[in-house]
């Protein structure tokens, strides 16, 4: 347990510069994009020069980029994420309102891809090179090659428009007045298609990794020894091969949480899910720098936390990790 705590402390200190770099980098990138928030807004409404000047002053865009970044960082240090000009609302509220939705979507999709991917990986890896293995590997690769938005649209056409089994989008039936279990079931129904679209794509990664890991372990000496001891095949596959191949998957889980956020931008738009990904896309289109910074910051924190959790899990699972730091 001590090892885990040392690791935790070290990682938390390391996270601060990472977050600063993320903020500054995002700010500069958005600054380099042509046009500012007033340009983006002026396109949608039109207006004369005076109006545009007034807006730029009101929104603080007449100041230099350095001043704006400094103002932003100063506010951030006091825990203030700022004000979104494109939504006329506090950024904290905007993000908090959408975070649960994205968590739910990402969490379920991650669980689906990790759980099902690992399971199928074990099935494939139990007999590397078999017909079952080859079929599964090929099918998962095919899924991996499909763009997320396309898979989403195909699912909508089949299950929402043709069969009408599931809703076309959104997170729950609009203004339905449902509550309790009814509402939970309603949300679950709405999540089926976006979770499938997001989860199926990453499923291949876990499947392939599990299978490759198992294929390698089958060739190891201790497996030969275990076989010689007459351990049952089922026990051999699950306890000896699969368990050892599982460790790299945990690492992968941490890394994937970041790319899952990227994937949710697309999936949330296709399925009209009011989450962080869609908010990020709207922030970029409207050049709302503080909003985008807020989203990126929250996402970065999220990725750091997930990776930290993965490392801690690792430290608990594998006695070798962090051992040298804990025993000086």
């Amino acid at each position: 347990m001590k090892r885990a705590l040392v690791l935790l402390r070290r990682r938390l200190f390391g996270a601060v510069p990472v977050l600063l770099i993320v903020v500054a980098g995002t700010f500069l990138l958005l600054e380099a994009a042509p046009g500012d928030a007033v340009d983006a807004y002026a396109v949608s409404v039109g207006g004369d020069a005076g109006l545009i000047e007034d807006l730029r002053r009101q929104w603080g865009l007449d100041q230099s980029p350095a001043t704006r970044l400094a103002t932003y960082l100063w506010a951030l240090m006091r825990g203030d994420l700022g004000w979104s000009v494109s939504f006329s609302r506090p950024i904290r509220d905007l993000i908090l309102e959408r975070l649960p939705t994205t968590f739910l979507l990402m969490g379920t999709a991650t669980a689906l891809s990790f759980g099902l991917g690992t399971l199928l990986g074990i099935v494939a890896g139990a007999r590397p090179g078999s017909l079952r293995d080859r079929t599964l590997s090929l099918a998962s690769l095919a899924l991996y090659a499909v763009p997320g938005f396309w898979l989403g649209m195909v699912l909508i056409v089949i299950f929402s428009i043709q069969l009408r089994w599931l809703p076309i989008g959104g997170i729950e039936t609009i203004a339905s007045g449902k509550s309790g279990v009814d509402r939970a079931l309603d949300i679950a129904r709405h999540l089926v298609l976006p979770v499938a679209a997001l989860g199926f794509i990453y499923l291949a990664l876990y499947l392939r990794m599990m299978r490759a890991g198992m294929a390698e372990i089958w060739r190891m000496d201790f497996i030969a020894a275990a076989k010689a001891r007459g351990i049952s095949r089922r026990r051999l596959v699950l306890r000896h091969v699969a368990r050892n191949a599982l460790l790299p998957l945990v690492t992968m889980l941490g890394l994937q949480s970041a790319s899952m956020l990227g994937g949710s931008v697309v999936i949330e738009s296709v399925f009209a899910v009011p989450g962080i990904g869609r908010l990020a896309q709207e922030a970029v289109a409207s050049r709302d720098a503080p909003l985008l910074l807020g989203i990126i910051l929250i996402s970065a924190v999220l990725v750091i936390v997930v990776n930290l959790a993965v490392d801690m899990a690792y430290a608990l699972l594998d006695p070798r990790v962090g051992a040298d730091e804990a025993s000086p």
Binding site: G35, S44, L51, Q58, A175
Partner: protein, 536 residues
Amino acid sequence: MISRGVSRRVLLQGGTALLTSAVLPRIALAEEPQRGGRLIVAADSEPRNLNPAIVASNGVFFVSSKVVEPLAEASFDGKDGLSPRLATGWEGAPDGRSASFKLRTGVKWHDGKPFTSADVAFSALNLWKPLQNFGRVVFKDLETVETPDEHSAIFRFARPTPFQLIRNALPALTSVAPKHVYEGTDIADNPANLAPIGTGPYRFAEHKPGEYYRLARHADYWQAGEPYLDEIIYRVLPDRAAAAGALEAEEIHLAAFSAVPLADLQRIAKVPGIDVVTQGYEALTYQLVVEINHRRKELADLRVRQAIAHAIDKDFVVKTIFLGYATASTGPVPSNDRQFYTSDVPTYAFDVARANSLLDEAGYPRGADGTRFRLRLLPAPYFNETKQFGDYLRQALAQIGIAAELVNNDAAGHQKAVYTDHAFDLAVAPPVFRGDPAISTTILVESGIPVGVPFSNQGGYANAELDRITAEAAVTLDPEARIALYRQFQVKVAADLPLINVAEWGFTTVARSVVKNVSNNPRWAVSNWADTWLAA
């Protein structure tokens, strides 16, 4: 204009409405309207400010025109193309220094307070004139608004202002906001900008960001018996493909503003119970325009501009890019405008040989690779059609030896590149004709416009004669004389080509057949929907 796959209702209800609506009763009106029901429509954006008195844009109107009403609305058959809303009568003084309005009596705000002339005076002086994107132009000379009694308002102008212009601006620019809510507050930051309070048939009930807006029936609406619907829900569907799917899956009733892409229309028109309607946008005509940077020496030559005009096959553009849902343009005023339009202008037939000889004449012979010169072409990203026309124009220019490099930006990037940095040679723009050339049309060719103003002349074009006509029309009070000036304006623009007008289009509405009284005025999508109802 109407292409294949037209539904029965289009033909019956709208197709001939402009011509015969005064004679034939409309079919939809023959049915007995039913009360109640929830209308669900697709929305693609959530504006940052929903107050139409401050932001006169279609994105805002689409939701808030049901909540906040203007003095008058556009009409197919009303006098001057208007039907009364909060004003029941209007008259301009002969000297152009004042305009008086008779206001409707017995109107209540959604919070129960009575609507009076004080609200109109407050909105005009504190919102339209200083804050509103177009009001700042049209009401710039407004000095005071007198309120002799609770239901009369007299607008006084510092300089003569044509009443024709004020009248044409009524539907879009005169949404009335409640004085008692805004007075003494920071108007731009008032919470009512996000949850508007108005006099309209529906009150603003709820906004769930990223999901929907909900409007609920205003029981005390001044038009007894209306509105028919209990609720209107705007369901936010950001994906371009979503609206068509949601209509087919019967999750929404209606998608306006061409939310269903042109390419899907033919297919969806065949789905039973779904109608494609092309009417209801006559007062919101969008124009497909090639903007020209006259700072480029080649483009400053009229012969080169004429050559480009001759190189564009407008017929092809209408048929292939707009799939027939558009009309070829002749000049800066769209042909469906009934006050100002003239077809008696110089035209440019599709003629590649003529274009090539014009360029030879201008002194730009083809080089060894067949290219005369190169330029940058920036298509506006706002519509599929503007992007597709950019691709077409590049090919059309190649035919006459002009190598165009396509530069694609997103909306903010395009706005900056064209209207602020002038980093373009040709650009494709979709300006809107708003019922009067003085509102947003003359600005496209006028000189001396500050840098950064969207949809304005940022191409460095300056023509003293056109500027004079524009200035004179701005103070000409006699409607006929004013119309004559704007006809001259159209002739000059078509002759000198400060920009090239290619096509003009209205949007399409796709609705389930149960929705009745769709598209029964020329600004239907952004009007109040008080008479819209759902058949059970």
